[in-house]
């Protein structure tokens, strides 16, 4: 089998990963550039980070982004998990086809359409655009991603565990919180993280659904990029990348520890 891990395969992977990572690496490197020109190296400097923290507009936008991200990711995780349960547990209910359509369609729906339609809804029901509408919009598109992530874990879930708990007299809600939830928790956590990243990342839907006073970081970055590329934006991007990288690494470490623990428990159980 290892013989087939050939030179061709290794080359494909190395080139592919270079393509995926090089632009990000260059972006990070040039955030430490002394020169104002983004593409000419003028020596090492952290001055753009200093000026970034004195840029009140960017800081306000970052704060809005984080709050929307935390609230919408949490709500989206609850709704997305419910949607995943509905899709996997209840194979027949009225309107199931429509329901699964509404869960999968937002994954590929062009953002301009989702953004425009949500905006027109908010106008039609007379909601003032701002922080609240922004959060509602983010919940809506990210809950579907959570649903898909959680659903993929639920389909491999061994339901006899739940049946055993119920046979022993546990009510369904208790069974869910004591049996089901711990098993699907890793998927729920990665669903939350995905929802959070999608939220802090979104430009198009935010631009449509946000109002005065609720400018998010991507909206701010976008308006500055249109005026020209500056090292300050590189610095802002680098910080965002750093936060996300820390989150992902932490999550994978937690996952790994959980996995090791589980294996140990299983072995202990087998030894009895």
């Amino acid at each position: 089998m290892n013989a087939s891990w050939s030179r061709f395969n290794i080359t494909a992977i190395v080139l592919g990963f270079a393509f995926l990572y090089l632009p990000i690496v260059l972006l990070v490197v040039f955030s430490f550039n002394e020169s104002k020109l983004v593409t000419v190296w003028g020596g090492f400097s952290t001055k753009w980070y200093v000026s970034l923290f004195h840029n009140q507009g960017l800081m306000d936008a970052a704060w809005v982004t984080i709050r929307v991200g935390l609230i919408s990711a949490t709500m989206a995780t609850v709704l997305g998990t419910l949607a995943a349960l509905a899709l996997t547990r209840y194979t027949r209910f009225r309107g199931r086809v429509l329901f699964s359509g509404m869960v999968f369609a937002p994954l590929v729906m062009p953002e301009v359409i989702t953004g425009l339609s949500l905006l027109l809804l908010f106008v039609a029901v007379g909601l003032d655009r701002g922080f609240f509408t922004l959060t509602l919009a983010h919940i809506t598109f990210s809950m579907c991603f959570v649903a898909v992530v959680v659903q993929s874990r639920l389909v491999t879930f061994d339901r006899s565990l739940e049946e055993a708990a119920m046979d022993l007299g546990a009510p369904p809600v208790k069974t869910f919180f004591q049996i089901t939830l711990p098993v699907i928790l890793p998927a729920i956590v990665s669903g939350w993280m995905l929802a959070f990243t999608l939220s802090i990342d979104d430009l198009v839907i935010s631009s449509f659904t946000s109002g005065p006073g609720a400018t998010t970081l991507p909206m701010k970055i976008y308006s500055q990029v249109r005026l020209g590329v500056t090292p300050e934006i590189n610095a802002a991007c680098t910080i965002l990348i750093g936060i996300v990288a820390c989150g992902v690494i932490a999550a994978s470490l937690v996952n790994k520890r959980r996995e090791v623990q589980r294996l140990r428990d299983e072995q202990a159980a087998q030894r009895g």
Partner: protein, 303 residues
């Protein structure tokens, strides 16, 4: 034995997400359609008439009578829109094909990698996806600019003596789309290729089939579900893409997502942008249904 509570919770589990999506995803489409039939007005919101029951049923009927298909006529009369739709589909199609060509060897290499390092490789593919889409597109501006890093490198090595103009061309859009959507192509391809039984290829080769023929006759057909899922995941959002053509394609590029954005934000013409959205949706409804069927089938198999 069913617990009395379970009927209530069962229903809530379905109803809460159901109504959320109904209200925030499905109903808005009808509002878009309704407004696409209205006319522009200098007001807030900038369109008339507003369908509502404020004037009773007869008022509603008058309002329906005032519906006009002018916006759709307008879309057919101005060649700009037609060209934007066509060029969006072409650009998305070419980008999807390029993403498949770039992504397939990577997915294949990952699927054939030793099982111990596969999770790491998988995480490395997903990781860029966690960094901002906008940032990743933005990073390419610095690379593709006339005085950018790519041209500096090519000039310094003497491969070219004139800087290449890549930014603000279709090439830049292709690069941007392939780069941004590559993980969406690799992941379904990988999961199809990883499940494959490689003894089939060995069998084919033992029987004297050359490696390339074995690939086209065995590997590729077996990976077809992954190919279809990956292509749809790239193609559908790419047709309506706004950020990439806007930042990398320059003002010359015609793509429908950009046209919609401009109608909405620059011209403040909500009815026309709604009509643009309705036509875009009609264009994508078939691929989206394909995608849903593929998802449903994958779900059935996973069971």
């Amino acid at each position: 034995m069913k617990h009395p509570l379970s009927a209530v919770t069962d229903r809530l589990v379905i109803l809460i997400p159901y109504f959320w999506l109904l209200f925030f995803f499905l109903i808005p489409f009808f509002i878009v359609f309704k407004i696409s039939l209205s006319t522009t007005a200098i007001a807030m919101p900038p369109y008339t008439p507003v369908l509502g029951l404020s004037d009773g049923v007869s008022g509603l009927i008058t309002q329906i009578g005032e519906f006009s298909f002018d916006n759709y006529l307008w879309l057919t009369q101005d060649a700009l829109y037609f060209n934007a739709y066509v060029s969006s589909v072409i650009i998305a199609g070419i980008s999807t094909l390029l993403a498949l060509i770039v992504g397939y060897p990577i997915a294949y290499g990952m699927a054939r990698a030793p099982a111990t390092i596969r999770p790491t490789l998988l995480m490395l593919v997903i990781l860029p996806f966690w960094t901002s889409f906008l940032i990743r597109v933005y990073a390419w501006i610095g690379i593709l600019k006339p005085e950018g890093l790519l041209n500096q490198l090519l000039l310094a090595t003497g491969i070219i003596d004139q800087p290449l103009v890549i930014l603000n061309t279709h090439t830049a859009i292709f690069i941007g789309i392939v780069y941004s959507y590559l993980p969406f192509m690799i992941l379904p391809l990988y999961s199809a290729l990883e499940k494959m039984d490689y003894s089939l290829i060995e069998a084919a080769q033992d029987l004297g089939c050359p490696p390339m023929t074995a690939f086209w006759k065995v590997t590729f057909p077996l990976s077809l579900p992954g190919v279809i899922a990956g292509c749809l995941l790239v193609f559908i959002p790419a047709v309506g893409e706004f950020v990439i053509p806007d930042l990398l394609g320059g003002s010359q590029t015609l793509m429908i997502g950009k046209t919609l954005w401009n109608e909405f934000f620059a011209n403040r013409d909500w009815p026309v942008s709604s009509a643009v959205a309705v036509i875009l949706l009609l264009l994508l409804v078939v691929p989206i249904m394909f995608f849903q069927q593929a998802q449903a089938r994958a779900q059935e198999q996973g069971r």
